[in-house]
Amino acid sequence: MTAGGEFSPKIVAFLCNWCSYAGADLAGISRIQYPPSIRVIRVPCSGRVDPFYILKALQSGADGVLISGCHPGDCHYLTGNYVARRRFAVLNDLLGFAGIDPGRVSFSWVSAAEGERFAEVVREVTEKVRLLGPNRKLLKEEVA
C-alpha cells in the first residue's frame, strides 16, 4: 500500500486473546500512539496459529505478519506458547532458508499489562517491514 508516495506497510497481527490482545487494548485505552499499520486477528492462543495462517497472509497481500502471545510460563492454557515457540522457530528458519526476508514475519511476547511494549513492538515491526518494502515473494498476483 502506498499513500502519498511513501510506502506504508500492511501488517497482519495474530494476537492471543489472553495477553497480547489485551495488551493492544491497553495501548488503546491508554492513548499510546503507534502506526496504524496492523490489522488484528484475535486468536485464542499463540498455539492456535497454524504456520499456514502466516504464509497465507503473505500470499494474500500482507507485507508483514506479527504473531504475539503470552510470555513463556504465562500461557492461559499453560503450555500453548511453548509448543508454538518450537513451531515458530522452525517456520522462521524455513522462511529464511527459502529466501523470504526474515523481517517479514515477527514474533513477540506481550502481556496484558504491557500496553507501551505493544506499541513499541508495532513501531519496530512497522519500521522493519517499511524498510523491506512491499512483499513480492509469496504474493499471489491475482490477489494483489
Partner: protein
C-alpha cells in the same frame, strides 16, 4: 541360505503358523532394475519376495492403510524402520500388531546410481526389528551435506532456485502418497472448506504447498527420500526436508524415528528452548 531364501521362508512361516495376515515386502517390478511393493497374504505367494538395491519404496507408508486387517509383517531397512518408529510415536500403528523383519541396506539404486537420500544415510540397519533377515551391513561414511552449497547462496538466489524448482510441480501429490508421515484422513491440500491451499500450479501456490509440506515434516521426516524418488517432475523435495530436520536437530536435539517413547519434536517442548528470534 541366501537372504532372499531366508526372507521367503520366514514369510511362509509367519503366514501359516504365526497368525500374520499380510507380509509387506518387495517383488520385482515390471521394468528391469525396479522393484515394487508386494502384499503377500498367501504362503504360496511368498516366493515373489525379493530384497536388493532396487527396493526403495518406504513400506511403512502402507501400514496405516492395512493395519485394520490384523497382524502385519513388514520388511524394513533402516529408513523404513525409522518410519515405523515415527508411526509408533504418533500412535498410528500398534507394536503388538507388527512383525518387523529387519534387513540391512547398502543404499537404493536409481537407474544404476545411488539414490541421493542414501548418500547421507546414517542408519543403513534397522533401528527397531523383531528379527534380522540376513546380516547387518557395515555403517557407511555419509557424504557431505548436499545442502551446504545451497545454503551459501544469497537469500534471493535461494528463493529463485527454489521457485524454479517448485514451479515444475504439477501437484500430483505423489510425494504425499509415498510418505509414511502423510496419513491424515483429509490432507490440508484436499480440504475444501476452508480451502487452505490454492489449487493452481502458479509459483506462489506451489511454494505454499511445498513450504507447508516441509512444516508438516518437521521433527517427523526420517529422510528416506521416497518423496524425491516419487516425484515425476524430479523436484528435489528432500532439500526442504533436510533443512527442517537439521533445524530440529540443532535447536531441539531431536532426530526423528529413533525412539518410540519420545514425543515428536514439535509436539513436545522444553521451557528452556532458545527464543532469540522472538522479541
Amino acid at each position: 541360505m541366501s537372504r532372499e531364501d531366508q526372507l521367503r521362508r520366514r514369510a511362509k512361516e509367519l503366514l501359516t503358523k504365526e497368525g500374520v495376515v499380510m507380509v509387506i515386502g518387495y517383488r520385482a517390478g515390471k521394468r528391469p532394475g525396479t522393484a515394487t511393493p508386494a502384499f503377500v497374504t498367501r504362503p504360496e505367494d511368498a516366493d515373489v519376495l525379493v530384497f536388493d538395491d532396487r527396493c526403495g519404496t518406504n513400506l511403512a507408508a502402507y501400514l496405516p492403510r492395512v493395519k485394520h486387517r490384523g497382524k502385519i509383517a513388514i520388511v524394513a531397512k533402516g529408513c523404513d524402520s525409522r518410519s515405523v518408529v515415527a508411526l509408533l510415536k504418533e500412535k498410528q500403528v500398534d507394536r503388538g500388531g507388527l512383525v518387523i523383519l529387519g534387513v540391512g541396506c547398502d543404499g537404493v539404486k536409481e537407474q544404476g546410481r545411488l539414490s541421493d537420500s542414501c548418500t547421507t544415510c546414517i542408519h543403513p540397519n534397522p533401528v527397531i526389528c523383531d528379527e534380522m533377515i540376513g546380516e547387518k551391513v557395515a555403517e557407511r561414511t555419509p557424504a557431505p551435506d548436499p545442502l551446504d552449497d545451497f545454503e551459501r547462496l544469497s537469500p534471493d538466489e535461494r528463493w529463485q532456485a527454489l521457485m524454479t524448482d517448485v514451479s515444475r510441480c504439477i501437484r500430483c501429490y505423489a510425494c504425499r502418497q509415498v510418505c509414511p508421515n502423510c496419513y491424515c484422513p483429509t490432507c490440508f491440500v484436499d480440504a475444501s472448506s476452508p480451502q487452505w491451499v490454492g489449487k493452481t500450479t502458479a509459483g506462489s501456490d506451489n511454494m505454499m504447498f511445498h513450504l507447508m509440506r516441509a512444516m508438516h515434516m518437521a521433527g517427523r521426516c526420517v529422510e528416506c527420500g521416497s518423496c524425491s524418488r516419487g516425484c515425476p517432475m524430479g523436484i528435489d523435495l528432500m532439500k526442504f526436508n533436510r533443512r527442517v530436520a537439521k533445524v530440529v536437530k540443532e535447536r531441539f536435539g531431536a532426530v526423528a524415528g529413533l525412539n518410540p517413547e519420545e514425543l515428536p519434536a514439535l509436539a513436545a517442548f522444553d521451557p528452556s528452548d532458545k527464543q532469540e528470534f522472538i522479541r
